[in-house]
């Protein structure tokens, strides 16, 4: 069901440092450039999660405003704008899904903390590695149907393992096994560089 990754900033990463500085100076044109660079990949991710055009538009706007308002905490020298924006975008979309589903925001604190700009230092090179993206695609295709499903539930629906177990009507232990084996397979196929 997936297409090949967009490698969203592969052609633009060199200009991110300058763009980040302009965003910090709150130049509206910098927001236009930021959108031109990352708007599409942000929309694609959010739309995949919420599956509604209007909602996706609202959340894209919220994502870019959030980035705009938090730029002062971003390290222009080392920070990776693309990964940061995508993480903010996913969090906004998952927050929305949780609010619609009436799910308790038990992980809201984590969603806030996992998008702090300081976490996105020196990530660009790895994220933009096209060979790794290709290997990830192949690795994902090799997963079993259950493994793919739990990865999608985690990444695109923000379900905890307990929530996955309820959704899939499977024992929690079984779901945990699928999650761990899927992540292990992806991690291993991405190569030694990502191995801890």
């Amino acid at each position: 069901m997936f297409f090949f990754p967009l490698l969203f900033a592969a052609l633009h990463s060199e200009g991110d440092r300058e763009l980040a500085e302009r965003l910090k100076r709150r130049e509206p044109q910098a927001m236009a450039d930021l959108y031109d660079r990352y708007g599409r990949v942000t929309y694609v991710l959010i739309f995949r999660i919420v599956r509604n055009t209007g909602t996706a538009e609202d959340l894209v706007q919220e994502t870019f405003l959030r980035v705009w308002n938090r730029m002062q905490a971003f390290d222009s020298e080392k920070g990776a704008l693309g990964p940061w924006i995508l993480t903010v975008a996913r969090n906004r979309a998952i927050d929305y899904l949780r609010s619609v589903d009436g799910r308790m925001a038990q992980n809201a604190f984590e969603l806030e903390t996992n998008e702090h700009p300081s976490l996105f230092a020196n990530l660009e090179t790895e994220v933009l590695n096209s060979d790794r993206a290709r290997r990830l695609k192949i690795a994902f295709e090799k997963l079993t149907a259950n493994q793919k499903q739990v990865i999608e539930l985690a990444y695109y629906e923000g379900l905890s393992q307990s929530e996955m177990a309820d959704r899939m009507k499977q024992p929690l232990g079984t779901v945990k096994t699928w999650v761990r084996s899927a992540l292990k397979a992806l991690r291993e196929d991405l190569g030694e560089a990502l191995a801890v």
Partner: protein, 233 residues
């Protein structure tokens, strides 16, 4: 727990999905300066961001760019599509205004407002933007701006304000800070018509927006706009 026990938790932690006990353990390791866990989380973050890009490609709506840029006061190029919408919408709006005028004859205090509303609708130089037309749920409607007569907002599907809050209209100059332009309420069905009668500098106008604010109003927006209408030159 040792780092070896935690290594399968890094991705879930990066996604904000780790369970309470494992989450506490990872955070404890990080607070202790654990280089192994820090590297593991960093790699998990890379993996997560790459997996996020596996989503199927879709085309964003063209108007979204303008909306995002306008939300920080940025300008954008002319969109002649709105001109066509203006022609169609005017006829429907006139019906409403005629009705409004008849009703307001009974209420002298509203006559001036009705005249101003009619002036905005009548004058050819009035600029109009339609918002929220792509889906039925979010706020929908139109904003009409006239240099002499002000801003007229017609909106439906407005979210019900939380207790103690109301809607606030903002005029956002290009490259400038949002200017508070009045407070208003919706009716029981979430519809509202609001006139901000102050003249508008069309040359510098970037966007008109609406946020939910405390009932006393705010000097600057404190929440994400529920309506943003980018105004073209």
């Amino acid at each position: 727990m040792t780092c070896e026990h935690l290594k399968d938790e890094y991705e879930l932690h990066a996604l904000g999905l780790s369970d309470g006990f494992e989450r506490a353990e990872i955070e404890h390791h990080l607070r202790q300066g654990c280089a192994h866990c820090r590297a593991g989380l960093r790699n998990a973050l890379i993996t997560s961001v790459m997996i996020m890009q596996l989503a199927p490609d879709v085309e964003p709506p063209r108007a979204l760019r303008k909306r995002v840029i306008a939300s920080v006061g940025g300008g954008s190029s002319t969109d002649w599509g709105w001109r066509a919408i203006w022609a169609t919408a005017t006829a429907a709006l006139m019906v409403g205004v005629v009705w409004l005028g008849i009703e307001n004859r009974k209420k002298p205090e509203y006559t001036a407002q009705a005249k101003q509303t009619l002036a905005i609708l009548n004058e050819p130089e009035t600029r109009q933007v339609v918002f929220g037309g792509s889906v039925p749920v979010p706020p929908q409607g139109r904003v009409l701006v006239n240099a002499k007569h002000g801003v007229l907002l017609l909106a439906s599907n407005l979210p019900k304000p939380p207790a103690g809050q109301t809607y606030e209209l903002w005029i956002i100059p290009k490259g400038g800070s949002p200017k508070p332009s009045g407070l208003f309420q919706s009716d029981a069905r979430g519809s509202a018509m609001y006139l901000s009668p102050a003249p508008v500098d069309m040359a510098t106008l970037g966007a008109v927006a609406v946020t939910l604010e405390p009932e006393a109003g705010s000097a600057a927006p404190t929440s994400t706009p529920i309506i943003v209408a980018a105004m073209s030159d």
